[in-house]
Symmetry: C2
């Protein structure tokens, strides 16, 4: 019998606090829990049918991820998104995404490029039909695929954490036709860079792409700022 195991598939049940973390993170990123609102422990406890102990552990984690703000003896809020936040987060995301482009070009395989090409075509179809939410879903998969191709979990974790903070802004609907067009053009360039493995150029394109996005988010924030 062969005792040498293949790629070790680790079995790992999630504990309750971990599932809670994921579930609440989802709620925040989706916008079910809007930026700025209070998050009383009791509410979430009854909502999820759990006791406060694992829930509080989850809140601590989400706070370190920057999605919640905790104040001792005063509870938790969903972190607000301010223009200053954006000005901080986007440069960092830019640096990370640029790196992911460079690394992806080093490590990506032809089949992977093929899969991204498929996603790219899907995305263009959604663009033609102006299917905004489907467009964005595929769009996100493309960026995720590039991140995967970079073969760097540390990078992926850090990037996703920042991306989650930004994604809470429901800016998508705010994209102008012009910006949308520009974004698809940039995605065309992204494909070219991947296929020619031009890491230097890809990192620059991704950075510019993010600049474009920043403008859309900024605009959204201006249109949706709440007086609280």
């Amino acid at each position: 019998m062969n005792t040498a195991l293949p790629t070790p598939t680790v079995f790992r049940r999630k504990s309750l606090h971990e599932e809670l973390t994921d579930a609440i993170r989802e709620q925040i990123v989706n916008g079910d829990l809007a930026p700025g609102i209070r998050v009383p422990e009791k509410n979430l406890c009854t909502f999820y049918g759990v006791s406060r102990t694992p829930l509080r552990e989850a809140l601590k984690v989400l706070a370190t991820e920057g999605l919640l703000s905790l104040e001792p003896n005063r509870g938790a809020w969903v972190s607000r998104i301010t223009p200053e936040d954006l000005d901080e987060v986007f440069p960092v995301m830019g640096a990370l995404e640029a790196l992911s482009g460079e690394l992806a070009c080093k490590h990506i395989t032809d089949p992977e490029i093929g899969r991204i090409r498929v996603l790219h075509r899907q995305m263009l179809k959604h663009y033609d039909k102006r299917e905004l939410s489907k467009y964005f879903e595929v769009n996100q998969k493309i960026h995720e695929a590039i991140l995967e191709a970079a073969r760097n979990d540390t990078l992926a974790t850090q990037y996703r954490s920042l991306a989650a903070r930004v994604r809470r802004a429901r800016y998508v609907a705010n994209m102008t036709q012009e910006r949308w067009k520009q974004a698809t053009d940039e995605h065309e360039q992204i494909m070219e860079c991947l296929e020619t493995r031009d890491g230097k150029r890809l990192s620059q394109v991704l950075k510019d792409h993010l600049e474009n996005k920043l403008e859309t988010v900024r605009q959204w924030l201006q249109d949706n700022r709440d007086p609280g």
Copy 2:
């Protein structure tokens, strides 16, 4: 009466779990809790004289920071440092440090440059006397000051988190005379870039500087790898 408050000095007592997080993080980064060892809750509870509830919250946070590994029902370990980790972490740190250099050149004030210049001179003195630990203490202050000058808390947080993971390697003693010389030369360049506000060049210098450091850490890891 003037209702406009000056810079709002926020009073904020730390809660127990937060203090625990800081204390244990310190223990890990200092090497009091060595990479790979188990961290039973009970031990830390008796050590700090607290109950398990706040302690467990602290463990969760440190796990998301990457300093601990948690496995359901099996407890916590101090994360090991593998060569693969270094190959992941250093490129990301490089990207972040490069950004910090660029931003610092944009925002840094003359007095700040002056203070860094003072630190720089101190560091050179320690170098001349071969005072390794003092050298590193000041060295770290310089990098911290640059990070401060970048005026980006998100960047600072992310960078510090990664830096903490690396700092656990007690690689300092491992630095060769040659590398030490090279490091001080690079710091000379860093000062030049700051004084001329040459962000592009500074970001490159910082990246190279980090490459140098990576080699030292790699060497340390090779010399100190444990068969566990």
